[in-house]
């Protein structure tokens, strides 16, 4: 299936139903076959890294929400863990995150990972023409959002994780609500999977499409589920643990040509299925964390750890120097490279996101495939455009 005749330029995006926002891909096509493609980015560039050089350390947290608003908790966490690592390079500024805050962090991060992956797999199914799984996924995401709303008042951009802790303690009855949520959630996921994951059409559409082998995936900088789908057994939560992940024993699913007879390790179906398996793992992690959650402080509405009070906030003044810290967000490694000049404003904040490198490999894998496969590939990488453009 290689293109032969005259070529036509087709603009997929920036406004297109399958590009999940404002991604633009200029496609050279020969009828239905894509000969080459050139992604064009920047439609959602909000100069977040530049803003980082203008606001004080704790005030950048709300901006991290906007780096990836599908999993804002993980984005908050990535920044805060990085700043804590920077603070801890000097004994004078070292912070200790209380255990309860660490537990809550894992809880919200994994809940947000679940809801983010639901969007990922649901949107991919929608790109392949199945609308119903997306709606069922969204319904479950809404329940997670309900929990987050009661926790911090927001449904999308939470600004919840703070440097040194979290913004608020769990509300009364949160544990029970989360446990109840998981009970019905697992039933729902079985239905979801029966509806779409085992669908022969879905597997036929995804099996063997745009496979990426392990060496390529590493060299092209793929991270997170996209990397694991290619068979690379690597998860920062297990291999470079931060917070209390080291105590949790994270189990890492990797791609194994799940699609069956036409499947190849690292094809679209593996990328899809690895996310579903990660959802299961996240549920397990949350349950573990709920078991080891220490009792709350005396005043439950107090911020757990953290520099919440205004006076304290101004005191975040990391030592001069630099640090690189990466955490596992739903779309893979979210790496912060931070340079501090010893003032209360960062000198340089660099965010490295999973979608950015995933978009980098587009022009390589979207070659000599069908136009219909292009949307499957975009969906399978689960790119979120604000994360590419920042």
């Amino acid at each position: 299936m290689t293109p032969a005749g005259e070529r036509m330029t087709l603009n997929l995006g920036p406004q297109h139903p399958a590009t999940h926002g404002v991604l633009r891909i200029v496609i050279e096509s020969d009828g239905e076959v894509v000969a080459a493609c050139t992604p064009d980015h920047g439609y959602l560039h909000r100069s977040i890294e530049k803003i980082g050089e203008c606001v004080e350390w704790p005030l950048f947290v709300p901006y991290t929400d906007r780096v990836d608003y599908v999993c804002a908790m993980n984005a908050n966490l990535a920044y805060c863990v990085a700043v804590e690592k920077l603070l801890n390079t000097s004994a004078a500024t070292a912070v200790q995150v209380p255990l309860r805050a660490e537990c809550i962090r894992v809880l919200v991060a994994e809940l947000n990972r679940i809801s983010s992956h639901l969007i990922g797999v649901g949107a991919m199914a929608m790109d392949l023409g199945a609308y119903t799984p997306f709606m069922h996924g969204i319904a479950q995401r809404e329940l997670v959002n309900d929990i987050f709303e009661r926790l911090c008042g927001q449904r999308l951009t939470y600004n919840y994780v703070t440097i040194g802790g979290v913004g608020f303690d769990l509300y009364a009855g949160a544990e029970a609500e989360i446990t109840r949520f998981f009970e019905q959630f697992e039933r729902e996921m079985v239905r979801f999977n029966k509806l779409i994951t085992t669908s022969t059409i879905l597997r036929d559409r995804c099996a063997g499409v745009a496979p990426i082998n392990a060496a390529e995936a590493v060299a092209w900088g793929l991270v997170g589920p996209n990397l694991r789908a290619s068979g690379v057994d690597w998860d920062l939560r297990r291999d470079e643990p931060y917070g209390i992940y080291g105590q949790l024993g994270v189990r890492v699913p990797v791609g194994q040509a799940f699609a069956g007879k036409n499947g190849v390790v690292g094809d679209c179906f593996d990328r899809y299925l690895v996310r579903l398996l990660e959802i299961q793992e996240s549920v397990r992690l949350c349950r573990e964390v709920l078991k080891m959650l220490p009792p709350p402080a005396d005043k439950p509405t107090d911020p757990v750890g953290g520099f919440q009070a205004d006076v304290k906030r101004l005191l975040v003044k990391p030592p001069k120097g630099e640090v690189h810290c990466r955490t596992e967000a739903p779309r893979g490694e979210m790496g912060y490279y931070i340079v501090s000049d010893g003032t209360k404003v960062p000198y340089r904040v660099r965010v490295r996101t999973g979608s950015f490198t995933a978009a980098g490999i587009f022009h390589k894998v979207m070659r000599n495939i069908f136009l219909a496969d292009v949307v499957a590939v975009i969906g399978s990488f689960d790119v979120v455009v604000p994360e590419i453009d920042r």
Partner: protein
């Protein structure tokens, strides 16, 4: 070709003579045309949009349209009809009307079902600007929606809605139906080409490739039924499925032979593809081609395409009912219905027919909201490598069944139709005819289950099984 019973009777009644004048025939044709097509097909096709939304909502566990009822329409009607009265008086009358028993409940029901959406959407579509993109071929672009609608509606002229409700008795109506519905292909190509949009063009090309291909299994499935009944007249095919006794449905073609049942399945699938429905909605393919061939259409022209799509679904449903489900006949006790007065019989037939058509209609919607879309090459492969060979196999099987069969029964209880012979294999013959293919099907099912067992353990575990 002859006039349908109702047309004939009406024309004779109008002129009072046995040889009606041509104006009377014209009036009668129009009246009969209006009755089934404009009063049945048109509203159902228009309701299709709301029905679709309701079905989607049910599948996705939402409510769907649930707020717009007829309250506004009712108020407007009072204002317009009673324009000579002061407003307060109008309001009092309206309140009094609403206080009548049952009215509140009906209004509430209309709101809950979102029926008012029909009016609202219609007004919205009428109010939209009629746009022709600057790069479009104006004439082709404008003409396409009319053609689509024509292609979708014309086949209904020969459709037996009831025994006495057929506009034209065409001796080859089965052929006629698929022939004129082919106009739609042209319309989609014109829309795709004329829009001056690359997505439309791709959609149009896909539509043509797909519809031309799928016409073959559709035609072969119809040919199988024709082979079985020995006639191309839809009305005769329907009449032939008549079975005296209480359990009329035993005479339906679907149950006559496993090969006919197979053809029914193929016909339904290929029919889905013919009306561009998921999983075969290549031409629209929202996530790939924005909206495919109708990307550039808006307002009323877009509405015509939507209408054509739903009408085409109804057509497939109607053909399916006529060919395999005994058409307008009741599943039980048809022998009594034919003794009723003509008007009552026709009404009963019409309702039964509409019910059968709606069943297919809803099934198509259910499928749409459940399955993902196939890829272009997979659609073609399914047609040429699966459906067409299956059709041929079924034809061969049918031919052998006919050769082996013996004995005939009078095919119809309706006096106006020729009493065609119909195959009767007897009870044992029927059992034998079913046994072998059923055994085959059972093997296939077992194989499929085994294949399901070969799912990757991770998939099995995700669906609730053990890894």
């Amino acid at each position: 070709m002859s006039l349908g019973y109702a047309v004939d009777a009406l024309a004779r009644w109008l002129t009072g003579s046995e040889d009606p004048a041509s104006w009377a025939i014209a009036v009668a044709v129009f009246a009969v045309f209006v009755a089934p097509i404009l009063l049945v097909v048109f509203p159902i096709a228009a309701l299709g949009q709301i029905l679709e939304r309701k079905v989607a909502a049910a599948v996705q566990r939402r409510h769907g349209p649930n707020s717009v009822g007829f309250d506004g329409v009712l108020r407007l009607a009072f204002r317009v009809c009673l324009f000579f009265l002061p407003r307060a008086r109008q309001d009092r009358l309206l309140a009094a009307f609403c206080a009548l028993p049952g009215i509140k409940g009906l209004l509430h029901l209309a709101r809950r079902l979102g029926l008012g959406q029909l009016v609202a959407d219609g007004v919205k579509m009428l109010g939209k600007e009629d746009m022709v993109p600057s790069g479009a071929d104006g004439v082709v672009f404008r003409l396409a929606p009319y053609l689509a609608l024509t292609g979708a509606f014309l086949p209904f002229c020969a459709m037996p809605f009831a025994h006495h409700l057929v506009m034209l008795e065409v001796p080859v109506s089965a052929l006629y139906a698929i022939a004129v519905s082919g106009i739609t292909v042209m319309a989609l190509l014109m829309a795709g080409w004329g829009s001056g949009n690359k997505f439309s063009l791709l959609g149009g090309m896909r539509a043509v490739a797909q519809m031309v291909s799928y016409e073959i299994p559709v035609a072969l499935a119809i040919a199988g039924v024709v082979l079985w009944s020995g006639t191309m007249d839809l009305h005769a095919i329907v009449g032939q499925q008549y079975q005296p006794g209480v359990l009329t449905f035993l005479g339906w073609n679907l149950l006559q032979s496993p090969f006919l049942a197979l053809l029914a399945v193929v016909f339904f699938l290929a029919g889905l593809a013919e009306c561009q429905r998921t999983p075969f909605d290549m031409a629209e393919a929202e996530s790939e081609l924005v909206s495919g061939f109708n990307t550039e259409y808006s307002g009323l022209r877009w509405g015509m395409f939507a209408m054509a799509e739903y009408t085409e679904m109804l057509l497939i449903g109607a053909l399916f009912a006529s060919l395999f489900l005994g058409g307008y006949q009741s599943p039980i006790g048809e022998q009594w219905i034919v003794t009723w007065p003509v008007w009552l019989e026709s009404l009963a037939h019409l309702l039964l027919f509409v019910t059968k058509v709606l069943a297919s209609f809803l099934l198509m919607m259910w499928i749409r909201w459940t399955l993902p879309r196939l890829r272009v090459d997979q659609v073609m492969r399914l047609c040429w490598l699966k459906l067409v060979p299956l059709c041929l196999l079924a034809m061969v099987g049918l031919a052998f069944t006919i050769l082996l069969g013996n004995g005939t029964v009078p095919g119809t209880a309706y006096g106006r139709l020729p009493a065609l012979p119909r195959l009767d294999l007897g009870v044992l013959g029927r059992l034998a005819a079913w046994a072998l293919p059923l055994a085959l099907a059972a093997i296939l099912v077992v194989a499929a289950r085994k294949r399901h067992g070969q799912l990757h353990p991770a998939l099995r575990q995700l669906t609730g099984g053990s890894a």
